[in-house]
Amino acid sequence: MRAGIFICHCGHNIKHTVDVRYLSEYFKKIPGVVVSIDYAFVCSEPGQDIIKESIENQKLDRVVIASCTPSLHGDLFRDLLKKSGTNPFYLKRVSIREHCSWVGDDIEANTEKAKRLILSGLYAASHYIPLEEKMVEVNKSALVIGGGVSGLSAALFLARMGIKVYLIEREKELGGHVRLLNKVWPSMRNGKEIIRELIDEIERLDNVEIYTDTIITNFEGFFGNYQVTINNNGQERKFIVGGVVVATGFTPFDPSIKPELHYKKDKRIVTTLDLEKGIEYLELPKKPRVAILHCIGSRDETIGRSYCSRICCINSLKTAEEIKQRYPDSFVESFYMDVRAHPRGGEEYFESLQEKGVLFTRGNVAEIIPTDKNIIIRGEDTLLGEVYEKEFDLVVLSIGMSTAFDSRALGQLLKISLDKDGFFLEAHIKLRPFDTAVKGIFIAGSCSGPKDTEESINHGRASALKLFGMLNLGYAFVEPFISYVDPKRCSGCRQCEEACIAKAIKFDEKLRVVKVEEAACMGCGLCNATCPSSAISLKGYFDSFIADEISGLLEIA
């Protein structure tokens, strides 16, 4: 080892409470250290020149820079090493500013601490191996699961960007639930029309293969190279894709789960979705009295559905408007807990319906009693504190969203997790709402939680973009700090595989050892800490580095 140690004064910032001169002298005596220099500003241009010259003249193969915290200056020093002709991963940065000179007052103790920190950095660096930023090939093709508005948007985007797309849909027809909507709020355009536009556009492109009436039967591989087997109407097909967008949508809540709603038992009790087919078939009187019941299958802990379905308040409003339009003399009353008209324009819509005479009554309905003549609704108005009993000709249930019926099975196949409600779990609820723990698999639309049309389109396209970014070049850069298996040491116990969050570890049945799928590895190091013999280890954070780092901190040097 020919190590160079560069200790930065950072002006007064380090020098003030750390005896840098003593340190540079001290490290000159450590075996393996060829250069030990303290300098006013190592990051300045003359400072960088000193490092560069030292590397070139002294043939340094390890560079320890003791200065500010590693996150400052980004890649500056790593690039410097590269420019000087050394592997950039021979660099060790030791923070003696944020973690030493700034946090202690005692010069003697600080100097001692800095000495230990640099020493442990040096020990760690002595074990360093050269790393490289590798590239792996990825397949420029994508699988989009689900042909609803979200999936269609994703597929269309990917196809437009030149990615080969396999779009599969479990139903016989594309379009998902939007296809069933008479009017899509807020544009009030016909759902079928919106879907038609998307499909027309997709069909115009020659790089999309559409499979309806299709399910996935097998799914293997890793980011960049997933092997998919589908069953298309009885026929098996196989293809390879680089990544996946899951947009399996939702299943509308079935109110017959709650017998007290009398759904399907009484024709006069319908859901908002039923009404999308039109009102005419209901044969209502000229001045119908209509009740709209919010939160059916949502915010209801008695059936284990505590979540809000996000779309049903607007759906209720839309229904009310439609009834009012068709029957101007109708009486429409909406029974609600909170009117969640949060989308853009929603509040104004809510107000306009109030103006049109739709009555909004706060309070859940306690009882629905169908009689021959009409349907009696009993409940308590929580605003007025009065118990009411009202008669209606029609009761509309504003139903929420349930998870897609096949989520669990698909999740198991794709190795992606579900949340407590059975929707797909995102990597981070705020900032990574489309990512899953598995690299190259994205979730979009209502399969990760209830969303309206606009949000589903957003999701579909945004997750498609993310996938496109990963597939675009046909290859992907692999992080240098990923796990690596020494096959000679691996016992094949598969503990790492079981624990791996990114599911980036694969077992080789023949050799009986595990293998890291480099493109999929996130670089957390959990596998390394799980393997009892450290046969799998995280590059940049090998056991030997950290073990010696510990020694450096504790040895009486």
Partner: protein, 138 residues
């Protein structure tokens, strides 16, 4: 070192890059003070911390070791710190069996919690110092 009458404990900490190490950086930029004998090793995720490291540190002279990561649910690697929690809970149980509870600590310190970082490690240090010096006097 400076105080000759008192033995200062050695503390080694493992801090995850995304939360606790960031908090320690922030503590530095805010010039908060903590004992010089507390030194931190940066790891990508607290789940990289092999309990063997902790054991090694303890038997090579550390009086206390702490492992600190993101709050449960906040892990950059999605679930890494839950594994840390299991492993460290077990390790702490093991140390408890050896009547060495208090030598190993697990903290959740987010990137913004520089103050919590200081509080936690200073308290830890003080506990260890008391213990170390009480032992000496007896």
């Amino acid at each position: 070192m400076t105080d000759k009458t008192e033995k200062a404990p050695e503390v080694v900490g493992f801090a995850c890059s995304y939360c606790t190490f960031k908090a320690s950086e922030m503590a530095g930029s805010l010039r908060m003070k903590y004992p010089e004998k507390v030194r931190v090793i940066q790891v990508p995720c607290s789940s990289r911390v092999d309990p063997a490291f902790v054991i090694k540190a303890i038997f090579e002279g550390a009086d206390g070791v702490f492992v600190s990561g993101c709050h449960p649910g906040d892990c950059h690697f999605i679930r890494g710190n839950y594994f840390t929690r299991r492993k460290m809970a077990a390790l702490k149980e093991m140390f408890k069996a050896f009547s060495m509870e208090g030598k190993v600590k697990l903290f959740w310190i987010s990137a913004a919690e520089a103050r919590k970082f200081i509080e936690k490690i200073t308290n830890f240090y003080n506990e260890l110092r008391e213990e170390k010096n009480a032992g000496k006097k007896n």
